[in-house]
């Protein structure tokens, strides 16, 4: 089965699967990135995007037949252009075909129509690559599998809710994030088994915290927080609680349904207006004992939201803490101390 790399949560994996591709989230481990050092500006791109650029350009993933990059962040658009330029100038080892999926995230009739048309374009492109048309039955099957995965994730998320969560955040992030790397039907089965096993566990004790900030494609922050006796019960993050979202409606126009799920149901830095982006956050915060804002040095986006969100939480009597270090690199002892003090002072609601 040909493998298509994707760079974030807004590429409709159902279309890829229906065309016979296996969609794989690109998430290289942190390490040397010589190509990024040479072609990407210092301090401008996140470590994850640099890693993806290096991996593709250095030919580390020769199994990739295609890479689909959505217009979900500006860094991803630049990644697309840089990869195209590397290919144009013949500077990389073997850059696969790179496709830009121009999904917009502001809410208006124009952006919705534009995004739907681009989704239809993506389908046509995949059909060309596959050498066959994507039939309604293909889509129905893939949406069904995707929905099974979505339901399974919902079940895992349920284990994190309430006053007696059964699933710690560190485990949850790994269990949920696995959906981006697996066959959805297989994932749904394994996730259901894991959920059943965890239901029998004694509840996790400690302050129940929500994380908000730069997407966490690693468990560094969760581990650090939970090492101080707290439980991360949610994260406003597509790697965790915002993964996949609600099941896709089984309407007659399946492409429209798939598009709707990605246009309306996914989180991302370009969602506008802000009230829409904040709705999920405030609902989740109301169920938590406190919030950890995560804005590592590479953040230049969510820091704009932080002062207002912090103030809004204070008004609601919800304590919050700001972490400005890179959790993937390991937090300093000072930061650990701050987390410990924060956790120890939080009144745990029952």
């Amino acid at each position: 089965m040909p493998i298509a790399g994707v760079t974030s949560n807004t590429v409709p994996s159902e279309l890829l699967r229906a065309a016979g591709f296996f969609p794989l989230m690109l998430n290289p481990p942190r390490g040397p990135a010589a190509y990024a050092d040479h072609f990407m500006e210092v301090g401008v791109f996140s470590a994850r995007i640099r890693g993806i650029f290096h991996g593709i350009t250095a030919g580390l993933w020769p199994f990739l037949k295609l890479v689909i990059i959505p217009r979900t962040s500006e860094q991803e658009h630049k990644l697309y252009l840089y990869l195209r330029e590397i290919a144009r100038q013949g500077l990389g080892k073997s850059v696969p075909e790179v496709y830009l999926y121009n999904l917009l995230h502001s809410r208006s009739a124009e952006t919705e129509e534009y995004g739907f048309e681009r989704t239809r374009d993506l389908k046509k492109h995949l059909e060309q690559l596959a050498g066959r048309s994507i039939e309604a039955a293909d889509l129905a099957r893939c949406v069904c599998e995707s929905n099974q995965a979505r339901v399974a994730i919902r079940s895992l998320l349920n284990l994190r809710e309430g006053t007696e969560p059964r699933l710690r955040g560190t485990e949850a992030l790994s269990l949920i994030g696995a959906a981006y790397f697996m066959d959805h039907a297989a994932y749904a089965q394994l996730a259901a088994e894991a959920g059943a096993e965890m239901e029998e566990r004694p509840p996790a004790r400690g302050a129940r915290l929500l994380i908000k900030g730069t997407p966490l494609h690693h468990t560094g922050l969760h581990q650090a927080i939970e090492s101080h006796g707290a439980v991360v019960v949610a994260e406003d993050d597509w790697w965790g609680s915002r993964c996949l979202g609600e099941p896709i409606a089984a309407d007659a126009d399946m492409v429209r349904s798939i598009f709707d799920a990605y246009y309306r149901g996914t989180s991302g830095p370009r969602a506008f207006p802000p009230e829409m982006a904040d709705k999920w956050f405030f609902e989740a915060a109301a169920k938590a004992d406190g919030v950890v804002f995560y804005l590592p040095p590479e953040d230049d986006v969510l820091g704009w939201d932080y002062p207002a969100l912090r103030a809004a939480l204070a008004q609601r009597g919800i304590p919050s803490l700001l972490v400005r270090e890179d959790a993937a690199e390991g937090l300093s002892s000072e930061c650990h101390q701050k987390i410990e003090e924060f956790v120890s002072k939080i009144p745990v609601r029952s």
Binding site: R84, S108, Y114, P297, Y306, R310
Partner: protein, 425 residues
């Protein structure tokens, strides 16, 4: 500040002051609407509707030139906006939110009727939403699909074959958003939009940019540059913010005439010119003296910045049967032409050759990350074309991390080690 060599430079600066004073009077005394917009928005639509616009980037440059950026940016950090956030596009907002720490230039910005931006980067929607809330004004975003196809040598297509240069769906989408903006401006002004008036304005923009093209050609062809880069910027941008207006066209003509006369009379900006330098990136607004600091010792004159050169290549649109679509083609890819490969690197190398550049300084603004992209490709392309490059890591408006003396030393070392020796050889 180096002396103004052109009379039109002083006239441009005076006109901007008078224009802004009039805007304040109109807003405060006559309750007339005005708008605050990002530089890459369709200013022409506002112009057509007689709604004056203050460009966010112009106001940021002005704050920075008045040495006010450290006070405002420190105050923003105190409010909880961390030090890693973009500064160029947020400094004017800081002057509103933190107006108590220092009086803003020229009396400050009054409350606008509207703020607008193209959603190019991921943070501008946040900056303008916060700013709009502080003003109690409305923010109208224009979403920005990304370019997927970027044909080579864009500047050869942009004037006559612009519809081939940009993807049709992006143009159509931008036009659809223009209609929303127009409807908003109609409500604000109580007047109907006149498409013919926009067409006339677009023709005026073409005339204005043709004058700039003549100036660019004069700078390329003259034995020594007749006009310093800083004065190019002052004259060009004063007109660009009002592009297509009678004043802007007349000023562009006056600028052309004065530069032409200097060339005819053999007048050089720096008679000792020996090295011609390009400045790639936004202006270093807090230290404009930097650009004349290497004339005396090295005869090094900054001859090129994007501000003049981009005018003719980026703005001229011939074939105005559908002026809205033509305007969309001007608006839709402004950042991509200046900051994205392959468009930015190809164009800048072409410009370097036309301007006989001996070296280039390339600004990577760490305090404004979206403006930093594409720079490595630009640097590598220039070096490959035989033009030595010095990368400059600094912010265009934030003076807090700028060590003026050290940066002058660094450039001097670069000129000694990589440029002077090479030109002698």
């Amino acid at each position: 500040m180096a002396e103004k060599q052109l009379q039109c430079t002083a006239a441009a600066i005076e006109h901007q002051k008078a224009w802004f004073a009039q805007l304040r009077r109109d807003v405060f005394e006559n309750q007339k609407p005005y708008a605050i917009v990002q530089a890459d928005t369709p200013l022409e639509l506002f112009q057509t509707m007689d709604v004056p616009v203050v460009s966010n980037q112009w106001w940021a440059a002005l704050i920075s030139a008045k040495r006010l950026s450290p006070a405002y940016l420190d105050a923003m950090n105190t409010r909880g906006f961390h030090e890693g956030l973009c500064r160029y596009c947020s400094l004017p907002m800081a002057s509103t939110l933190c107006g108590d720490v220092a009086p803003a230039p020229w009396g400050g910005l009054p409350r606008p009727a509207l703020l607008s931006a193209r959603l190019t980067c991921d943070c501008i929607q946040r900056v303008l939403a916060i700013w709009a809330e502080a003003f109690g004004a409305e923010f109208l975003p224009l979403d920005a699909p990304a370019a997927a196809e970027l044909p080579p040598k864009w500047w050869e297509l942009s004037r006559y074959r612009w519809s081939e240069l940009f993807e049709e769906h992006r143009l159509q989408f931008m036009v659809a958003q223009f209609h929303k903006l127009i409807a908003k401006l109609e409500r604000i002004t109580g007047r109907a939009f006149d498409l013919e008036r926009l067409r006339c304005l677009m023709e005026g923009v073409n005339r204005q940019e043709e004058y700039f093209e003549e100036v660019r050609g004069l700078i390329c062809a003259a034995p020594q540059t007749p006009v310093r880069m800083q004065e190019q910027i002052s004259n060009v941008m004063a007109a660009q913010w009002l592009r297509g207006s009678e004043w802007a066209i007349a000023h562009a003509r006056r600028f052309r005439n004065e530069v032409k006369a200097r060339v005819t009379n053999g007048v050089a900006a720096c008679p000792a010119e020996r090295l011609r330098i390009m400045w790639v990136g936004a202006g270093l607004w807090h230290d404009m003296e930097f650009y004349t600091a290497f004339e005396a010792e090295y005869g090094a004159v900054f001859v090129w910045s994007m501000y003049l050169a981009f005018g003719p290549d980026g703005y001229i649109r011939y074939g105005l049967d559908d002026p809205l679509k033509a305007l969309a083609s001007r608006t839709v890819s402004m950042n991509e032409q200046l900051h994205n490969p392959p468009w930015a690197n190809e164009w800048i190398v072409e410009q370097a050759k036309l301007h006989r550049a001996d070296a280039a300084l390339v600004l990577t603004p760490l305090g404004t990350r979206p403006s930093a992209t594409g720079n490595r490709f630009i640097e590598l392309a220039l070096e490959r074309a035989g033009i030595p490059v010095l990368p400059i890591f600094a912010d265009m408006v934030d003076a807090r991390t700028w060590d003026a003396l050290e940066m002058r030393r660094k450039v001097a070392r670069f000129l000694n080690e990589r440029v002077v020796r090479r030109t002698i050889e």
